[in-house]
């Protein structure tokens, strides 16, 4: 216990490295390969063909834009829905609390495509298919619970005393929300937003069913390639897709960090999803 061999942590770090990073190597190689026959570890030749296709295709950037746009709207709507709900459940004695929680958390347990398959025809009748609005609506169910949970956890750590304190200093409901509640919830909101964005970005099936080909998000664009299309392009798209997801999260994290630096809000634990 006392004297741990120095190489052990090193070994673990290397193991971690392999576990996490090495999987990206073939993706990278494949996207740049020109002829790559077994058993060569590296391609015979290199080519930017796949990347040229991916980068030059307007659709790629449209898809990136649409994906992020949908994710942002979904997140914003989630926020509007989650804030009052979390407030109610944390701040008031609500009868049938379990029922409300069960309702809001249900999409975590029941896969959302089940509901989307059911609701598909109605969406079609209301003209919601093939629209961004329809896709946004379809994305709400799978993302809202995570946003709700993050906001609720955050709310629970905000003792009423803070709001009371602000009241005693003469702050009405609105200043109270902006000066006290929001700054405190912000890290939680951002954690929830990260999850919401990530989940929204990852949806293939429900986007496809509701978007019906007209709402082309990144996964829609990517899917034909990875399910039996050109591997180099599939790899390039996959890398781009992963990069967008990571960048969205890193971006939000950076925003949060900036906020911390500016205002020293104690950091909270982030929510996670499988």
């Amino acid at each position: 216990m006392k004297k741990q061999p120095r190489f052990l942590p090193l070994l673990l770090i290397i193991g971690l490295f392999i576990f996490v990073l090495v999987p990206f190597v073939p993706l990278m190689l494949s996207s740049l390969s020109f002829g790559w026959r077994w058993p060569d570890v590296f391609p015979q030749g290199w080519s930017l063909r796949a990347w040229e296709y991916v980068v030059n295709d307007v659709r790629t950037w449209q898809a990136v834009g649409i994906s992020l746009w949908i994710a942002l709207i979904v997140t914003f709507v989630n926020l509007l829905l989650a804030l009052p709900a979390a407030n109610a459940l944390v701040r008031y004695p609500v009868r049938g609390r379990w029922l409300f929680e069960a309702i809001i958390f249900a999409p975590i347990i029941i896969p959302p495509f089940i509901s989307v398959m059911g609701v598909h025809l109605s969406f079609l009748r209301f003209g919601l298919t093939e629209t961004v609005l329809g896709v946004v609506l379809a994305h709400i169910a799978p993302t809202l619970p995570y946003m709700f949970r993050a906001v609720m956890v955050s709310y629970q750590t905000l003792s009423v005393d803070w709001e009371d304190q602000a009241r005693m200093l003469g702050a009405g409901a609105v200043p109270r929300f902006f000066h006290v509640v929001l700054p405190h919830l912000l890290p939680g909101i951002l954690a929830g937003a990260s999850l919401s964005v990530l989940i929204s970005l990852s949806q293939y099936l429900i986007t496809f069913i509701i978007g019906a080909g007209q709402v082309v998000t990144l996964p829609i664009l990517l899917f034909p390639f990875i399910s039996g299309g050109d591997p180099a392009i599939a790899s390039a798209y996959s890398l781009l897709y992963a990069a967008i997801a990571i960048m969205a999260l890193v971006g939000m994290d950076a925003a949060l960090k900036r906020y911390y630096q500016m205002s020293r809000v104690p950091q909270q634990e982030k929510g996670v999803k499988p």
Binding site: P93, S159, D161, W162, D164, Q165, A166, R167, M168, L169, G170, A171, G172, P175, H179, V180, P183, M262, S263, R264, V265, P266
Partner: protein
């Protein structure tokens, strides 16, 4: 006159899970706090102090009763308009604002200009001994400093009443003493009316002009520290104030006989016959050999001696009764644990309670 009058305010908590907890009831409270007075609510945990304080603040809605400040009925005024201020147990500084901005928050809510309110904040920070800390963030301050900031924040907007809910109980003992000094001094300087909640007798005694002792949702007694300590109105108050020598007995025609017979003495007060409790403050017990006039002697055995800064606390067993007494070091040196001792009780100093 801008007294704060609490008239029959009452409150019942209906516990959400009906079975789990008995609901709590704050009995109608009748209380007037004079302008500029330092008034404390003293009572054990869970007796309803915070509840009463929050009712005064308006953070809880009363089930009945009224609250007047001078000629103004505040009963239905929301807390943000009452112009009260409050300091909580935790400093509750806004972590994302600088110290200055925290202190100036109340003024900002009153739409005071930025420059003006920052000046006011800085001078208030001076008062609490924190000049130069204005641009820091709360988390860069120690607990005591944070509580000073909270005090400054509460005072800067010239509140009509300052409400404080155990503001020092989260601090170290030495820091607590320091903060008491500061509060005492600042209260005198600003002549602000203070309603102070604590469960610490020493704190209440050290700070307050008057004290209300609470117990189980009720005001038990109101008075100065000395009135309470020397003339408690009932055993609950007496024992909460740490008066431990309480002897049951009977008064018959001006003579008190304790039930275990260790005391049999003439009563100085005019008391009707009946069952009484005699309360003997530890300070009013002396070792024998001093002048005996007006004293009653009790024989006992020293069970324990403890040195407490400058004096000794003794526990003496007399029959079945354990008596606590305070001895000077000189007196204490004359005796030792296990030895028998004669105690004198000054009958002028004892106090009788009917129960």
């Amino acid at each position: 006159m801008s007294d704060l009058r609490i008239i029959d305010i009452e409150k019942r908590y209906r516990s959400a899970q009906a079975k789990n907890e008995a609901s709590f009831l704050l009995r109608p409270v009748q209380l007037t706090i004079r302008e500029g007075e330092f008034f404390s609510l003293l009572g054990p945990s869970g007796c309803g102090k915070t509840t009463l304080l929050k009712l005064v603040a308006g953070l809880l809605e009363a089930d009945g009763g009224e609250l007047w400040f001078g000629n103004e009925n505040l009963s239905n005024v929301p807390p943000e308009w009452r112009k009260f201020a409050m300091v909580f147990q935790q400093s509750l500084l806004f972590p994302h604002k600088t110290i200055e901005d925290n202190v100036a928050f109340g003024l900002k809510m009153q739409k005071v200009g930025k420059k003006e309110r920052l000046n006011a904040a800085r001078s208030m920070l001076d008062h609490v001994g924190l000049s130069g800390f204005g641009r820091r963030f709360p988390e860069e301050l120690s607990g005591g400093q944070q509580q000073r900031v909270a005090l400054a924040r509460a005072l800067v907007a010239n509140p009509r009443v300052l409400l404080m809910d155990e503001p020092f109980s989260a601090l170290d003992p030495s820091l607590r003493e320091e903060m008491r000094e500061l509060l005492s001094q600042i209260q005198k300087e600003f002549r602000v009316t203070v309603l102070f909640v604590t469960h610490d007798r020493d704190e209440a005694f050290a700070l307050s002009d008057r004290i209300a002792v609470m117990g189980e949702g009720q005001l038990r007694q109101i008075g100065t520290a000395r009135q309470l300590y020397e003339r408690p109105e009932n055993i609950v108050v007496a024992s909460f104030l740490g008066l431990k020598n309480i002897l049951g007995g009977q008064v018959t025609s001006g003579r008190f006989v304790s039930s275990d017979k260790i005391i049999d003495a003439t009563v100085h007060q005019p008391l009707a016959d009946g069952d009484y409790f005699m309360v003997i403050r530890p300070e009013s017990i002396k070792a024998a050999a001093a002048d005996q006039s007006g004293h009653v002697s009790i024989h006992g055995i020293v069970q324990e001696m403890k040195y407490v800064s400058g004096t000794y606390n003794l526990k003496v067993i007399a029959e079945t009764q354990v008596l606590e007494c305070v001895f000077t070091t000189f007196q204490a040196e004359q005796t030792a644990v296990g030895e028998s001792i004669d105690l004198l009780v000054d009958m002028k100093e004892v106090w009788f309670l009917k129960e």
